[in-house]
Every structure is written in C-alpha cells, then in structure tokens.
Assembly symmetry: C2
Homo-oligomer: 312 residues x 2
C-alpha cells in the first residue's frame, strides 16, 4: 500500500470521514464491474466500498412484465432515493441500501453500507441527475462501441445468467430507445470517458487486447501526465489534444492494446510509483472477468486511482 | 373532516411539506397498533402515514437464534438508520423503509414511504435516542400494567401468531431484562404517558372497559382542557394535578371506563367539536383489535389529535 494511501483521511472536525466518491456509469455490460473490481482491490477493501445503483430498481422482474419500460428508465428506479443515499454516503453517513438479486430478479433484504475513505458508485444511471452528480467527486462513463458491448453482454448473460444469444439480442433491441434517452446522455457529464475498442485501420492478430481511449475532460484537474508519460513509454500510451463530439477541447489518452507488455508495465509502474510506491503494482489491476489480463484496463484503473488519491 | 384538518399544511418555501411527527413507544403488545389505527383513520390516510420502527431489525428471526439478545435490544436494530429515516421524514423527504415480516420472521423488500402532513412512528424504540426524539413533535409512551400487557400479548400471539401461551410467557420472561433496560426508560421522554388499567379499589362488573390515565407532561403545551372538560362531563373524565414517579409535577387526566357511554360520548363530541367539527366523531376512534369499542381509547386518541392539529 503506497504511503499516499495511508495519509488519505478527509476527516471532518467531528471525526466523520468525508469519502472521495467515484461514479462509474455505463450501459449494461459496458465493463463497469471489471473496472470497479480492480480499483477497490488496489485501494483495499478496508478503505473502500462499492455499490451498484441498479439495486434501486422500483419494480422486480415479475412486475416489470406488465410495464411499458425497461430497467434503464428512470421511472423504473427510485432515482430520488438513489440521490438521497449518494448524498448521505458523500457526507459520511451510512445507508440501508436496497438489494436487487440479478439471478432471481427479486428485490430482497436491504444491506447496511457504511462509507469508507473511498466510495465507488457504479451502475446504469449514477450520473443522470444534477443532484446525484453533486455527490460524486469524479465521474467516469464507459463508452465501448456497441459491437464490443454486444459481444460482452452475450458472453456474460449467456454464460452466467442463463439466457440464449437470441434473448440477449432481443432484449438489447428492446432497450435501445431507453439507452439512447437515458444512458448515453450521461457521457456528457463524465470527467473521464473510457472507450475500450480495437484500433481502426490496424491489422492486429486475433487475441490482441482492446486498446483504450480515455478522454480527460477539463472539468476536473487532471494530473500532469507529461511527468508520467515520457518518451520512453510512448509506444504504449500517448496523449493527444482533440475536440470531442460536441466540439469541446479534450485530452485523449490512447493506451495501445498492441503494445509490448514490457512497455505497458513500465507505464503502470511509473504511474504507481507516482502514487507513492514502493510496493509492486497490485496484481488485481487489469484483471478481466475471465481471468485474463488487459494492460489498457490496468492503465485506465491507475489513472482513476491517480485522481482518487489526489482528492483524498 | 373538520375545517382544521383542511388547513394544516406546513409547507416550506419550496413547497415541501414539513410533517407533524408523532412518536408512540411501548413494549410488545402495549396497544401501539390500536392507538395508531384510530388516529390515522381520523386524520385520513391521504393526509397521514404510519410506520413501525420495529422494521429496523438488524437480524431476522433465524439469525437471532444465535445471538445473546432479543429484538428489544438496540444492538438488534439499525438505530442509526432509524434516526436517519425519522430525520428525513421530519424534513419532508421520502425514505426506502426496511420491512420485517412478523409472520415469517424474515427481512424482506423495502418499501417507499413518502411523508404526508402527519407521520406516526410507532414501535419498541422510537424514543430511545436524543436524535430520534429530535424528529418527533409529540411523544407518547404506552404504559399498561404488566398483567394487562401480558393478557394482551397472550391473546394476540396465541390468536394471530401461532404461539402457545407457555411460549409467550417464556419469551416475555426472556425479554424482561431488556424491557427494563431499553423500553421502560423511554417513558421519561414522553409528552404523554398513557396507562390503560382497571381502577384499583373499585368492584366493577366483568366486561367493564379499562380506564385510562393520561399524564400530560409540561414538556409540550397542552390544550386548555378546562374548556373541554366542564362540570357536565366529570363523571367520565377528570383532571388532577399530581407528582409523577420521579417527583415532577404533571396533570393526570383520568378517563373512567365505568362511565355511562352517553357521558363518554359527550366528552368525545366536545373535544371533536373543538377541533373544528361539524362532522360526527369518526367511528374508528376507540376501536379495539377484536372490534369492540373503548371510550377511554377514543378519548385518548382525541387528546392526541388535539395536539397534532395544534401543531399543524
């Protein structure tokens, strides 16, 4: 655990911890759980806690059968209670969080969540309202291309949730209008937009890890990456000033999936050392659901850790 | 619905309702549900909502088997979450309230509770902490003699919850140290202490309703009962200045179970008219679990309604 991780209490005068709160939004199977898992593991589960705001579903699976919307719709969620609970956690107070069981589709017994120094809030709609964003110190939107997300969703829902490929595709089609209306508009509210995708125009061999593009919006103070990303690592990552879809200027950090592992590891170690070393880079960073390793994911997690530690 | 009931919004500048919050504490089977039911019915379910804070149990029945305390113990309840939720309701905000199912002993799906103009909070421990009391505008403690409460508990738990008489008595004995430590100390924090009991020294025939003694503590401003309780009704009720157990001065309102029904009804009508009539006294006042009627209960409910309306 780096030194910085040991000096990161933001205690109020009364001794209540004011956590640093990270929000991660994205559509179903956009990679929220994988991103969150490595961050929590690196921070240490005693100093961090993650919640999934999809637990704030207003209706269970059975009830939704008679309703004209999918779980993506704000009317299908207790958005006001989600806002309230994020505000409570952000001010250092415990919550009794509802629990939605994905395996049965039932709403079950709620669970106590006590804030730790870092609170990670992931789910479909954490960036949707101004009030929910007010409780988040850093906001991330996961923005994979739809064909990548479709592949991930089929893999997970067929492999782990018992659906057929056709059911998954039909459900995605049914959800698309609500993805457009409620999920994707959250992208504009993110300090970091993360896109895992193959790089267009390259002819990489099968099995090459996806690259990552991180948009670092000027909405928060980003670390001076030039000190981290020197000439010696630019085969693995490079930073480029671009205009976002909407014309706003933004730094785009490209993390190359095709880079040699030793180049990527050097980037990871350089960022990690900046965070206060001297321990080795946590092995959980970059771990994918199936157990494989992705250096672009690890570097993304390190950049987010950089922000979390800066704020603590 | 009396006029006063139609002029009772305490709206904040933004339009949020600041409810009047009534807290009713008492041991198991002390009569909390019967008292609450008539009050909610008189206020109208569209203007009032009641919650039972025994839903804040931390452990279900199965888990409690391995634990060294009963549901009366603060450690067996999410007291901090109860305090938080009372504060939210008192400031006009909704809560997602946990639900404990008494029939199965399980904690189940939570439910949304939105504040109305009147919020009634009843249960084992609503007056326990300073923070919970801070959210209550009026506090009531139900204080029947133990032999009366034992009779009520046997009747309910054998009749409705499937226990034997011996099981109920054994459970009461097991709970007694925690009743003493946590339930009965709440009596001192109540603005009104209500004791349903037979009157000592009288030889009333069987079936005579229990009388009620209401201690009206000088902790809140009580209505000027002399305008309500004149000479013409003193066969049914009378007011007496006494010292409480602890020596503090207190008004004791005695409501006689042996009074002629017409005398009791006159008291009820007099209080009700003071509240802004002209409708008849709500028929739900004084209704007991088995469907019988108790004039002392009705008069107790009317005194509490008097307070609620004064504050609204």
């Amino acid at each position: 655990m780096p030194d910085k991780l040991l000096r990161m209490k933001r205690a109020t005068p009364e001794g209540t911890i004011r956590p640093v709160v990270l929000g991660i939004a994205g559509d179903s199977a956009a990679g929220k759980t994988s991103l969150t898992r490595g961050i929590v593991e690196a921070l240490g589960p005693d100093r961090s806690v993650s919640i999934c705001v999809d637990d704030y579903h207003r209706y269970d699976r059975q009830e939704r059968r008679g309703l004209p919307f999918t779980p993506l719709h704000p009317d299908c969620n207790y958005v006001d209670i989600m806002e309230q609970h994020l505000g409570l956690l952000a001010t250092g107070q415990p919550i009794l969080k509802p629990v939605y069981d994905h395996s049965t589709g039932c709403l079950t017994r709620p669970e106590l969540v006590e804030p730790r120094e870092y609170v990670i809030v992931e789910g479909l709609l954490p960036l949707m309202t101004k009030l929910s964003r007010a409780s988040l110190d850093i906001t991330v939107y996961l923005d994979p291309p739809e064909e990548v997300r479709t592949g991930w969703k089929i893999k997970r829902d067929v492999g782990e949730r018992g659906y057929t490929r056709e059911q998954v595709l039909a459900e995605m089609e049914r959800r698309e209008p609500e993805s457009e209306a409620f999920i994707r508009p959250q992208r504009t509210h993110a300090d970091l937009v993360v896109r895992f995708a193959p790089i267009a125009g390259r002819d990489d061999p099968p099995g090459t890890p996806l690259s990552a593009e991180l948009l670092l919006r000027p909405t928060i103070e980003h670390p001076n990456l030039s000190s981290v990303i020197g000439e010696d690592v630019n085969r693995a990552v490079h930073l480029k000033l671009i205009r976002d879809n909407d014309g706003r200027p933004v730094d785009a950090l490209h993390v190359h999936g095709y880079a040699a592992p030793e180049d990527s590891r050097l980037v990871e170690k350089t960022i990690w050392d900046e965070l206060g070393g001297p321990e080795p880079v946590p092995s959980g960073l970059g771990r994918l659901a199936g157990g494989q390793h992705s250096d672009p994911l690890a570097i993304t997690q390190l950049i987010i850790l950089y922000h979390l530690l800066r704020l603590s």
